[in-house]
Each structure stands twice: as structure tokens, then as C-alpha cells.
């Protein structure tokens, strides 16, 4: 059979949800009888409305390839995963799976909390197709992987959520699955266990197939060979991870900045000499606060490296421009920015108070001034970062913020090499003397 070379073969897959008046209407619909006309006039109308949450999905995933699925909330990612696993029944189309599929949709969700860890291991492993003797052989390995000590003989309801996840993942890792489906589950668990899982996954995907749903573009980029971008229940783009994630990033920028795409056209004209420049402008100046003394009218972030598209890798020279307008006469303004990571931790920041440019400077009412910061972007670890900008007056002891813009720019950093901690080091050389 030619389809054998594919781990997953999806044809014309669609899922329609029908909203029924009552569970009984649904039952009638399922068994194919409708007796409503006997009882009342409302024979038609047991189905109130239908929603296609997924439509026209066609996928071919070869053995050994790994599929990432991205898309905004509600785009149908989880529905697709459930259809791939078989917990949901498709309305149209087929899913062919060549191999045993193990899902980590919600880690530990197949657990019965009244049962002990040991009983849950036996039950979960049997659900995943192991015979009792096979489980007996692997039991000690599973327990060793889970590493939760004597808790294994306690009811699962006494477990912390981390322990449930450890046991669940340990089972998944020992059932000889051919396809592993993971839904944002990797972020949980402590660092040591996460490392153990990642080691397992990297080994696993050498020969077998992983399907991963994540909002974390960098983990998709590091784990998946192909990526599917879902938008409103349909395939927006499907192809190699690099091109799809880049297109997705473009889309996210446009969504974030709305009409800013118009602005970036004008600024691209200004920068016509540097084709393929990474640029982000913001008109999204509404989140934050203003005092009414002055305001930030525009801001842009431009990479000064040639031929850089979509992704920062850290270390490149960038220019952050902030234009302010005085609504009243303004004395000695201080313009600054901070770079925050996904958790809101401030990584770095700078302002004009350290420089001489605004010393004894007055900006008359209705006048504008643009400040350019040119700096080397820190060697950030892969992930999303936000830049907040502000205009203030006073001195650093007694600062009055006049206009603060949260997350004026969102940048995505994808480092080709692993960086430890918040920022990488700019290593000049590594020597050894013996």
C-alpha cells in the first residue's frame, strides 16, 4: 500500500459541530430517527445551527518527519489534534495512521484519581495497547523514569500535578508509540524532568513522528521539520517550518499593529536603499497612559543588518526611533525604552538622561522631535520580547512619566545556537592551557 510510507495521511478532513436543542435531539439524530413530528409541529429545527470548526484538511506526514501546528486561539488546532488521535469523530474525510499513536493532549487525563500510580500505569499502558506481561517487563523502567518515589503506591489524588505528569509521560515513553501527539504539555514539570522529556523526544523523533501544537514559535522551530498554520479552521499554509513560521510571524505583526502596515510602506521608502530590511513600526500607542503634557506620536524599530527578514537572532545592530510631540511646552524630556521577556522581566533598557542631547532642551508646544537609539541587540535566548517606550520629565530620583506605551514593539528572537539564561555571552575566545 503506497500510503504506508506516511505516518499520518489526512484526506478532506472536516469537523462540523451541530448545536442541538437538547441531548435527546442529538440522540435521535444519531440513531437516525426523528419522531418529533409525531409529538409537535417543530419537526424541523432540532438542529439549531452548525459550525465548521475544521474544514478541508489534507496532510501527508512521512515517517520520521515532525509536524508543528500553529495558529491563533480558536483556529482549530486542538480539534485537529483530537481528530488525529481519534478521540473525536470527523464529519468528513479520513485519517489514516500507520502506527501506534500516543497522545499527551492533557497529561494525565486518562488517570483515575482513586487508583494508585501503579494501577494507573497498568491501565494507561493497557489503553495504549500493551499486554499485561509487557507492562510487567517495563514497569520498573516506567517507575524509574517517573521518579516519584514511594508515591507510586499512593492514590493519584494525593499527587501534585507535577507528579501526575511525570507518571503520565513515563507511561507514554514506554509504550512503543510510533506517533506522539503533544499539546503544549512540555512546559509543565520541573526543569530536570523537562530535560529528561526533551532528551526522550529528540531521540524519539530521529525515527518516529511527533505532532506538536504550540504557541511558542521557537519550540516549533527547534522540534519540527514541517509546520501547519491553521486559520479559522482551514489550512493557511503548510510546508517547511522555516517558511511557515516566518509567514506566521509576518501575520502576527500585522495583526498586532493593524494599520501600521500602511506606515511601514512610507518608512520602507525612506529606507529604500536597504532591501529586505526587518522593520517594525507601531501605531499601537493606546495601551499605557498619558498625562497630556506630551505624547509619543510614532515609533519604529529597524534592523540595520542587510537582508534580515522576520526574525532577530540577537547581536545585530538595530535602530529604535521614538518621535514625541509636545502638547505643552516641555523642559528636559527623558525618552527611554525597556526590553522585557515573555514573563515581563526587564532584560535591558536605556534612556536619554545619560546622554547630553536633551540637556537644557526645551520643546515648544506642538513641535516634534525624533530620538534614535542605535544599539546592538542583546544576545537574547529564543523567544518573544516586548519593547515598551516612554517619555518622562524630571530626574532619575523624581521621574514623571508622561506617556508610556506598553509593548510598542514585539520582536521574536530565534537563536541558531542554544543560549543559557536570559542573555548569551559574546564569547571572544575559548582557550585551554594544560
Amino acid at each position: 500500500m503506497s500510503s504506508k510510507k506516511y505516518a499520518l495521511l489526512v484526506k478532506d478532513l472536516g469537523k462540523k459541530y451541530s448545536i442541538y436543542d437538547s441531548p435527546i435531539s442529538r440522540l435521535k439524530n444519531l440513531i437516525g430517527i426523528n419522531l418529533d413530528f409525531l409529538v409537535s409541529k417543530r419537526a424541523v429545527g432540532s438542529i439549531k445551527k452548525t459550525i465548521w470548526s475544521l474544514q478541508d484538511i489534507n496532510l501527508e506526514i512521512e515517517h520520521g518527519k515532525s509536524l508543528g501546528i500553529i495558529g491563533r486561539n480558536g483556529s482549530g488546532k486542538s480539534t485537529l489534534l483530537q481528530l488525529l488521535c481519534g478521540t473525536l469523530d470527523p464529519t468528513t474525510g479520513t485519517v489514516i495512521r500507520n502506527g501506534k499513536i500516543a497522545a499527551l493532549l492533557e497529561l494525565g487525563s486518562g488517570f483515575n484519581l482513586d487508583f494508585t500510580g501503579k494501577e494507573n500505569i497498568y491501565i494507561n499502558a493497557s489503553i495504549l495497547g500493551l499486554s499485561t506481561s509487557e507492562i510487567n517487563d517495563r514497569y520498573s523502567k516506567i517507575v524509574e523514569f517517573a521518579d516519584i518515589g514511594d508515591f507510586i503506591d499512593q492514590p493519584a489524588r494525593t499527587y501534585s500535578s507535577g507528579m501526575v505528569i511525570r507518571v503520565a509521560f513515563a507511561v507514554m515513553a514506554h509504550v512503543d508509540a510510533d506517533i506522539l501527539v503533544i499539546d503544549e504539555a512540555l512546559a509543565v514539570g520541573d526543569a530536570i524532568f523537562t530535560q529528561k522529556c526533551m532528551r526522550f523526544i529528540r531521540e524519539f523523533q530521529k525515527t518516529k513522528t511527533i505532532v506538536l501544537v504550540s504557541h511558542d514559535i521557537s519550540s516549533i522551530q527547534s522540534l519540527c521539520s514541517d509546520t501547519l498554520w491553521l486559520k479559522n479552521g482551514a489550512i493557511e499554509l503548510f510546508g517547511d517550518t522555516k517558511s511557515v513560521t516566518e509567514a506566521y510571524q509576518d501575520f502576527v505583526f500585522k495583526e498586532l499593529y493593524g494599520s501600521a502596515s500602511k506606515n511601514s510602506n512610507t518608512s520602507k521608502n525612506k529606507l529604500a536603499g536597504i532591501p529586505g530590511t526587518l522593520i517594525s513600526e507601531t501605531n499601537n500607542l493606546s495601551s499605557g497612559w498619558k498625562t497630556g503634557l506630551c505624547e509619543i506620536t510614532s515609533s519604529s524599530l529597524v534592523s540595520l543588518e542587510p537582508d534580515q527578514i522576520n526574525l532577530y537572532k540577537g547581536g545585530e545592530t538595530v535602530r529604535l526611533s521614538i518621535t514625541i510631540r509636545a502638547l505643552e511646552d516641555l523642559q528636559n524630556p527623558i525618552i527611554g525604552f525597556i526590553i522585557k521577556d515573555k514573563l515581563g522581566q526587564i532584560i535591558a533598557g536605556e534612556n536619554t538622561s545619560s546622554s547630553k542631547i536633551f540637556k537644557d532642551f526645551a520643546l515648544l508646544k506642538s513641535n516634534e522631535v525624533t530620538t534614535n537609539f542605535e544599539f546592538g541587540l542583546p544576545l537574547l535566548a529564543s523567544g518573544d520580547y516586548a519593547i515598551s517606550i516612554s517619555i518622562a520629565t524630571g530626574n532619575l530620583m523624581n521621574l514623571v512619566q508622561h506617556h508610556w506605551v506598553h509593548d510598542a514593539h514585539i520582536i521574536n528572537v530565534y537563536s541558531p545556537i542554544e543560549r543559557y539564561g536570559l542573555v548569551g555571552l559574546d564569547i571572544k575566545s575559548i582557550n585551554s592551557n594544560s
Partner: protein
């Protein structure tokens, strides 16, 4: 088995062969979950599994007391009182109770079995069709203990040809098939209709008095005979008693009818279950 994972078609098979295949493929799971179900019931209690023995014994004592001491009922009014021992009366009632309890336990628990395992419906790929089978195994285990007590009781108080014990499975097998079929139907319909639990518990109480448990079928007025024969547990109670106590001769045609009817109920019940399970995830 070769096709186990390559299921391009999600629609559950509704034919009875699929049921047999599933029982075979999931035998390990059925054993694990049934064991757990049996031992889990009394887990943490002082007497533990002894309760499975104590409960029928105590019930037996109560029935003996109420019916032969207070009501002074005789099983067979024609026979002289001297021929009928109190203990035999109790054992006759006990045999009926075993059959009835098996039925009532399976049916009443069927109303909640899917709801109690929502995880298995929505979160993992679980062979839901084995849940009623686990109910059967659990109830069957307790029925077996009770039957052992019954047979020990009959042997110690009277005589029993060993051959007759061998006949028991002949009557019990179609009964198990019948209960499984009803269980498939009830467990599915209870997911959609929440009132099922109430209706079923009422029905079970009614059945307890409408079945020939506390009285012989011969005591029922002739005009109700057809009605009471429709009761699914009447036949098997009468046959078991006829076999163990009264040396009735067995009529092969009614037995064949009972087999055919039971198998039909199972086929229809399983078909209904498989047809309707697709909607479980949407309702739960």
C-alpha cells in the same frame, strides 16, 4: 489485529463480531479494571472482601426471618408443612435474590458508568464498549460467591446431584448475555437522558416484587402469567429453582427461545451503543 491502528474509518463497527474482537483485544484491560473494581469496592474497609460473603448471608437471614417467621409463608401450600424446612424456604428465596441482584446491580450502575468515566470518553482513546463488560465481571464475581453459599447450603441441608450444578451455566449464560445487552442500551441512553437514573431505580424496585423471587410463579393468577413471563428475569429464576430444588424437567424449546432472545437483545443493545457513542463526547 493487523488492522488495529490503521483505522481510516472512525465509525464504530456495530456488528457483534466487533464486540468479540474487542473483548479479545482488550482482555488485559478488562481483567485489570475488573480486579480493581472488585477489590476497590471494599478498599480501606475493615472486613474487606469478606463483605461480599457477609452481605448475602445477612440478607438470607433477614429474608428467612421475615417470610417464614413473621409472614409464615409456605413455598408450596399443597405439601405438608413437615416436608418443608425453613432453611429450604430461605434458600429458594436466596436463589431468586442472587439472580435479581445480579440484574439490578448491572442495570442501576449502567446509568452512571459512562458519566463516571468522562475522561475515557473525551481525553483518551478508550474502548468504551468494555465498560458494561466490567460491570458484568464485577457483578458476576459477587454472584459466584453467593452461588457458592447457595450450593453449600443446599448440599448441607438436603441432597443435590452434582450433575445439576453442571446444568446451571446452561441457564446462566444466556442470562448474562441478556444483562449485557440491556446494559449496553441503558448505559448509552443514560448519557443523553438524565432522568434514566431515577426511572431505572424505580423500575428495579418494581421488578423485585414483580418477579417470582418471594413467591413461586405458580402462585401468580393465570391471567397475569403472560405478563410476568415478559419479565426478563422470570425465566431464569424458575429454571434455576426447577433445577436445584424441584427436579423439573427442562424443555429444550423454551431454552432455545431464551438463548435466541438474549442474543438478539445483545446484538440490538450493542448496535445501539456503537451507534450512539459518537455523541458521548458532545453531551458529556
Amino acid at each position: 489485529m493487523t488492522n488495529k491502528y490503521n483505522n481510516s474509518n472512525h465509525k464504530p463497527q456495530t456488528n457483534p463480531i466487533e464486540l468479540i474482537r474487542s473483548i479479545y483485544a482488550n482482555r488485559g484491560l478488562i481483567v485489570t479494571l475488573s480486579k480493581r473494581e472488585i477489590s476497590g469496592r471494599y478498599k480501606g474497609s475493615y472486613f474487606g472482601i469478606l463483605w461480599s460473603l457477609l452481605t448475602p448471608l445477612i440478607m438470607l437471614t433477614i429474608y428467612t426471618l421475615v417470610f417464614s417467621e413473621i409472614f409464615k409463608v409456605k413455598w408450596n401450600p399443597i405439601e405438608s408443612a413437615a416436608n418443608e424446612k425453613k432453611i429450604q424456604f430461605a434458600l429458594i428465596i436466596f436463589s431468586g435474590m442472587i439472580i435479581f441482584n445480579f440484574f439490578s446491580e448491572i442495570i442501576s450502575r449502567s446509568t452512571s458508568i459512562i458519566r463516571l468515566h468522562t475522561n475515557y470518553v473525551k481525553k483518551v482513546i478508550f474502548p468504551l464498549e468494555i465498560l458494561p463488560i466490567i460491570l458484568i465481571c464485577d457483578a458476576g464475581f459477587h454472584a459466584l460467591i453467593s452461588f457458592s453459599i447457595l450450593i453449600i447450603g443446599i448440599i448441607t441441608t438436603g441432597t443435590l446431584e452434582p450433575l445439576k450444578i453442571l446444568l446451571l451455566p446452561l441457564f446462566l449464560f444466556p442470562y448474562v448475555i441478556l444483562c449485557l445487552g440491556i446494559s449496553f442500551f441503558i448505559s448509552s441512553i443514560a448519557v443523553y437522558i438524565r432522568d434514566s437514573g431515577q426511572a431505572v431505580s424505580l423500575l428495579i424496585t418494581a421488578l423485585m416484587f414483580l418477579s417470582p423471587i418471594f413467591y413461586p410463579l405458580s402462585a401468580v393468577p393465570k391471567k397475569f402469567n403472560n405478563l410476568i413471563a415478559l419479565n426478563p428475569i422470570t425465566y431464569v429464576i424458575e429454571k434455576i429453582r426447577g433445577d436445584l430444588f424441584f427436579n423439573y424437567s427442562h424443555d429444550i424449546y423454551s431454552l432455545i427461545t431464551y438463548y435466541l432472545a438474549s442474543i438478539l437483545v445483545l446484538i440490538v443493545g450493542f448496535h445501539f451503543f456503537q451507534k450512539t457513542r459518537l455523541g458521548f463526547a458532545d453531551v458529556l
